[in-house]
Amino acid sequence: MPGPDKETDLTERIEAFLSDLKRGGSGTGPLRGSAETARETTALLRRITAQARWSSAGDLMEIIRKEGRRMTAAQPSETTVGNMIRRVLKIIREEYARSRGSSEETDQQESLHKLLTSGGLSEENFRQHFAALKANVIEAINELLTELEGTTDNIAMQALEHIHSNEVIMTIGRSRTVESFLKDAARKRKFHVIVAECAPFCQGHKMATSLSEAGIETTVIADAAIFAVMSRVNKVIIGTQTVLANGGLRAVNGTHTLALAAKHHSTPLIVCAPMFKLSPQVRRLTNEPDFYNFCEILSKVNVHCPVFDYVPPELITLFISNIGGHAPSYIYRLMSELYHPEDHEL
């Protein structure tokens, strides 16, 4: 029986993934983009579904939740891991419900009648065994993977709707999504990009070189000059690390200042974020930034170097995701479509 081998193989892979996550955020900046992380997480979850021993949907969900908790604990700032786990849990619930025969629509709605009489799905314990469940779940996860692979292209396809000729666009740091967005628009239109370098990691430099190699007129400015040049900027397009449940952002350091400057000049702020970055978290009041110790001469001084900034939803004009454009006030609705409320806490 290849069972035990499969299991050890599976555990090995999970361990490898966990150590990768831990290493990835250990102070040298993210080693890989969040798209890759999302894809790897989903692939790993598919493997778990295929190889782990489970008999009912509830078992599977328990296994996934357990592994998911370990993964999120390994790297709390990498929220895509948690998001993918929640997506897969939602998939399992849906597949289970479909197998049982009840339509998805009624399950979704939290009608007052349902709340009073049956309590909805919360009384379900997912103990029923369905033979086709495994295959269905794996198929759905495959669909999810295809969706993930196409996110950047889907976002880039919308570029021409938002960028016109002779515009001055400002961005900060390095975002692969924004890079492909701008490069796609540059094929047809001519515009100018100003990149804020985003100290101390100065990832804006890499972004600028990559954009200029595609023939886009690029200018690199220091972070301190963001407000000074903002009066000439037509649009601000940024990427983000996470989109929060209230429509706010958890983005790279300096984004809040950029958003405030854009608000002051009434410049639209557009966020290019694929759906897998949407996280049901809200901003934690005890703002837990990731500290990174910066080389400092004197030991008598406190040095702060937060990696992320919180941007409130009032400063954001538009979200562009792989399923289209949305206002920040719509994000909560998308949340309920992607994740089940019970999965918000893993």
Partner: protein
Amino acid sequence: MADSGETGGPVKKDGIQQAKTEGKELTKEEKQRLRKEKKQQKKSKEKKDEKASQESEKEKKPVSSASPASQPPTQPITPKAPSAVPTLVPVPASETPAPADKPAKSKAEMKAERRARQEAERASKQGKKGEVGQQAAPGKPKAPPSELQPVVKRLPEHVQVDNPEVLKKLAKKLERQQIPLRSDYGYKVSLFSHLHQYSRKAPLTQQLSIPSTVIHPAIVRLGLQYSQGIVAGSNARSVALLHAFKQVIRDYTTPPNEELSRDLVNKLKPYISFLNQCRPLSASMGNAIKYIKKEISNIPSQCKEEEAKSKLLNCIDRYIDEKINLAAKAIAKSSIEKISDGDVILVYGCSSLVNHILCEAFEKNRKFRVIVVDSRPRLEGREALRRLVQRGISCTYVLISAVSYILPEVSKVFLGAHALLANGYVMSRVGTSQIALVAKAFNVPVLVCCETYKFCERVQTDSFVSNELDDPDDLIVTRKGKTQLEHWQEVPSLGLLNLVYDVTPPDFVDLVITDLGMIPCTSVPVVLRVKNVDQ
């Protein structure tokens, strides 16, 4: 032609007209001289016409009787003043007799005529009123000139780099003064094509011969210190400039047949051009230079050289003492009232005045802690950090991108200024406006500390029209062993922008602390006016 020989202006103008009518070919120098004279004439006409309206009236009256013949030819050309008093017509007529019948008149001359006519009309109206009370007349014309004084300033050269004529003029001027011209470096962002962009690796002194015969060695050293950034910060630069000028004055000897008051000013002009080439002059330096020039030209001609020199040296010492040192003490005194125990104060970059205030407050046993915000590429905050920690003040250090993270802890923001503009905008190191913006969003009070000698009559609303572009190579940095922008010059569509200054709108600033007291940002023109009237 020789009938109007009272004022020097008309005579010269006659000379010009004469030369033109005679068809003489004017050489370049003569053309320059003539242009200068025309400009001086225009200025003197605008200033003196109203003051000396009575005298000119009286003088012109006999002229009018002497040149009635010139009236008819001018009348078809001056149809705008038919109702004018007959004494009026000869005023412009006496100044432009010859080409009155010449059809080919330049536009500038016609403009000058019209302006002179208007001034004369205004003057006559005032003269009519003043004729009754002539004692009051000299007092009255004095007040209007200060209001109606048309401030037609020439646009400074350093914001007209995209105009090739201006560049040519500058090159000629520098050639005359024997100062090398510094060439621009690197690809300039199109928004800033009207500004210079120099490289620190090519200082101007490399193009000078050593020892330089034209420029005093103290000035050469100062220029090098400016261009390499060794002396930076508006107070430091002004003080260094004044000390260098003191040295120049000490080593100066009046050449024979020259007056110290005029010759020394001419000696200083090439030095100022040189320093301007090394690094554009700051507002505080500009004010200091104006003061020195005024003091020099006010030296009476019968003063002996030694006496004059020691007087000038004393003046400079007093200026430094009053405007910088004592002002710092006064500002520190008022600021300490604003610092309370338990405060968390945010400062940006390295401002000598703000550092002084914090050290003084610490001496007075106020309990506070400081957050120093710094920014690339200059990283001046590290210097401020060093100075504060040496005194024993507890500090925190962040980069400017973390400002919105740290601001909830802050109770006050103290900012220094490079200059305060006449419309209330604060010109300071780039990044200051950003900090003021974020502080405003978090409702943290912003206090700007600035001495009055940095107040400037310019107005500006954005950071583009007049700024300084620093060496773009400063932005290049190595991270994780890779230097991304190393070959930025080879990529045609890539530009680096290293701004030095930016302007903060007055609605972000809550209070300006000056040596004259604590004023709101909008009271800057009031202070300027008070200063001008005093001087």
